[in-house]
């Protein structure tokens, strides 16, 4: 597990040397690609190797002294997402970066950023997480400024100032938490806070600092000003990395971890997340509709789509506080995580496509484009897949994750929020209809007339991501139950388990000292299969409504009696049950 951080970190420092040895030729790109591929293989292996959360103590020092790295379900999911997107972005970079001077430095910063992100998701204590966030973010500040034109420099300056403010807030929050609890380990901090009962005032102040810090990093709406400048200014593969994974690793993942593992899914924090999420969704999409700069439009959509994830997590926290059934809570968290992974895939694909278009035509103004679909068939097709996916058109992956979020909201009784979610999804479709119309359709303009299809490596990266769009939608389909069960469910379990009474996820680190504690509390067990059952039923019902056939898997036939009455009745019964719990 520590190799996941060590490989890119060492690679980052060796990269200038490799660059010099190869005589600054393009072949130097093989080095970071090999390293990232190794990271991807390792992370997939980690994902499939074990179900138990793994803990690694740096330097072999044990609990009170040592620094821990923890890989539970959520971390493993994030590591795989990070590695996949970075590998694709690197393959894309080979030709794209040929136009820039000193690509060697670019790869150095890129590897440092990957190391930082892997560190964030694997670190088991607050301060280490802060350090790794800084590693990733400082690399990304420099990468945004890589073009060194005035636009890039200004965007980078703005991003750096706001990013530093965010980091400082995090540091103050960490200081306050350490002052109150006397620990920095996620698990230990969570344990102390939860055993103390009602959080005290300093803790709420700390929570406020954390929310501002992570909110800035995740570009939630009141704090979003830097993102629409920073993301479009970076080179296209870096935009893909920033939008695809960095805001998730540094903002959304950490916020989820904080709210669920440390603050026990506090409903007040839950409502704040819901508010931030809804604001981001609505404002982000409304700003996006009016954009004529291709990459800026995509950047606003990143804000909007991250809003979905925040909303799902916040709603899950609120539902948990209201004692709704763990099924519904699990469903909300599952939807949020699934959307997070899907967004990483399709948004990085969109940014890579915009990079291809810019590479071939030299412009990213929508009005100057047109007819790309005819001139650049591969890029055009990939762009179409990604646009349909982000707008939530079935059967692509964006549809399934949005569907799960909406279902969870309806089941939890948040009808207004569900309506807003559907409305934002519709606006997204509208805005991407504009992209399709101006970029793909129409007569080739003078910019496009001379355009040729981009080099093979760039096409390869785009096509692979487009295939992933389909593959991860398959993940939601019954036949792939096993894959989903292994990949996403442990992750959502890890989130809810952090808040559940037994707190199986992160706490494993602590429980090594207290063997008496039972590790597998019933309510955690109930979460996962229940969640799967219920949303399978719903989807079956829904699929039937859409006139499609859903394959019945073995497990389902075994449970046939229970599922015999799938249909509107079950749906209503489920709703009634939910309300019945709520009523008294």
């Amino acid at each position: 597990m520590p190799l996941l951080v060590v490989i890119p970190l060492a690679g980052g420092f060796l990269m200038p040397l490799v660059d010099r040895l190869t005589g600054r030729r393009r072949s130097a790109a093989a080095f970071p690609i090999l390293l990232t591929a190794a990271v991807l293989v390792l992370s997939v292996w980690l994902l499939l190797a074990a179900d138990e959360p793994l803990t690694y103590w740096v330097g072999g020092w044990d609990f009170p002294i040592g620094i821990s790295m923890v890989a539970d379900g959520l971390s493993r999911l994030m590591v795989v997402v990070v590695a996949t997107v970075s590998l694709m972005a690197l393959v894309f970079s080979i030709d794209y970066m040929a136009r820039f001077t000193s690509p060697g430095l670019y790869y150095t910063l890129f590897l440092l950023m990957v190391a930082g992100m892997n560190g964030v998701v694997l670190s088991g204590d607050l301060f280490n997480m802060y350090v790794f966030i800084e590693v990733a973010c400082i690399a990304s500040y420099a990468l945004v400024a890589f073009g060194t034109e005035s636009d890039e420099l200004e965007a980078s300056f703005k991003y750096l100032v706001l990013g530093t403010v965010a980091s400082t807030f995090l540091l103050v929050g960490i200081a306050l938490v350490y002052n109150v609890t006397g620990h920095l380990n996620w698990a230990k901090v969570g344990e102390v806070i939860q055993s103390a009962g009602e959080p005290t005032l300093p803790l709420y102040v700390a929570a406020a600092f954390f929310l501002m810090g992570f909110g800035l990093k995740a570009a939630m709406v009141p704090f979003h000003a830097w993102l629409p400048d920073a993301h479009p200014s970076a080179p296209a593969p870096i935009s893909a990395m920033l939008s695809g994974v960095l805001i998730k690793a540094a903002g959304v993942y950490t916020l989820a971890r904080l709210v669920f593992s440390v603050f026990d899914g506090d409903p007040a924090l839950g409502w704040i997340l819901v508010t931030l999420g809804v604001l981001s969704m609505v404002v982000g999409v409304l700003m996006a509709v009016g954009q004529w700069d291709f990459k800026r439009l995509l950047a606003y959509h990143s804000i909007s789509q991250m809003g979905y994830v925040m909303l799902a997590f916040g709603a899950a926290a609120v539902m948990q506080a209201r004692d709704l059934s763990p099924t519904v809570v699990g469903l909300a968290v599952f939807g949020g995580l699934f959307h997070l992974a899907n967004h990483a895939v399709f948004k990085s694909l969109l940014f890579l496509c915009s990079g291809s278009v810019e590479y071939a035509t030299g412009t990213r103004q929508l009005k100057e484009l047109g007819g790309i679909g005819g001139r650049m068939p591969v890029t055009g097709a990939c762009l179409r897949v990604a646009a349909l996916s982000i707008s939530g058109v079935p059967p692509l992956n964006g549809f399934w994750s949005k569907l799960i979020i909406v279902l969870a909201l309806v089941l939890g009784g948040f009808y207004v929020l569900a309506a807003v979610t559907v409305f934002v999804s519709f606006m997204t479709l509208l805005s991407f209809a504009k992209v399709q119309r101006y970029v793909l359709g129409g007569e080739p303009s003078e910019h496009v007339a001379a355009a040729r299809e981009v080099p093979a490596a760039m096409c390869l990266a785009s096509v692979l991501l487009a295939v992933l769009c389909f593959a991860s939608s398959l993940m939601a389909v019954e036949t792939m139950r096993t894959v989903r069960g292994r990949v996403l469910t442990p992750a959502s379990e890890a989130v809810t388990a952090g808040a559940a009474a037994g707190r199986q996820g992160r706490l494993i680190t602590v429980e090594r000292e207290r063997p008496a504690t039972p590790r597998q509390p019933e309510d955690v067990d109930a979460t996962a299969p229940g969640g799967r059952d219920s949303h399978r039923e719903r989807r079956k019902h829904l699929a039937a409504g859409l006139g499609r056939r859903v394959r019945t898997s073995d497990t389902e036939t075994r449970r046939a009696p229970a599922n015999g009455t799938v249909g509107p009745e079950t749906h209503r019964a489920g709703l009634a049950a939910v309300h019945g719990e709520e009523a008294p």
Binding site: E134, L160, T164, T168, A175
Partner: protein
């Protein structure tokens, strides 16, 4: 409010001053100074969290373990907490690299525009 709260209040003042410079100033250099002040505020905050009053009538103790493990418990009770000090070292190094980067960005921007005034730059208004 007790006397012990005063340093914390002053630290918050430092944080607010840094934030004010970043938000309100129109000069790149002043914004950079604001970042530094903010950073220092956070560091001082960390130092404060590690401070402990020595037992009445005794001199403060440095957190150095001289008497072996037997002394450890007593030291943990009386000496200041060394962990935040270790954290600040890291934090200062991070602050250094951020400062280096932001100053170099400022220089490049000055080369482009010939001014440090953000009002004359296109995207940095607001």
């Amino acid at each position: 409010m007790t006397l012990a709260m005063v340093p914390f209040m002053l630290t918050f003042l430092l944080l607010v001053a840094g934030l004010y410079a970043i938000v309100a100033k129109r000069n790149l250099i002043k914004v950079i100074v604001g970042i530094l002040v903010l950073n220092c505020g956070a560091n001082v905050m960390l130092v404060l969290t590690g401070y402990r009053d020595p037992p009445a009538g005794e001199a403060p103790v440095a957190p150095i373990l001289t008497g072996g493990a037997a002394q450890a418990d007593e030291l943990a009770r009386t000496a200041v907490d060394p962990l935040p000090q270790a954290l600040i070292l890291t934090s200062i190094v991070i602050g250094l690299s951020v400062t280096a980067l932001v100053v170099s960005l400022g220089v490049r921007l000055y080369e482009k525009y010939g001014t440090f005034d953000t009002n004359r730059m296109r995207n940095l208004k607001g």
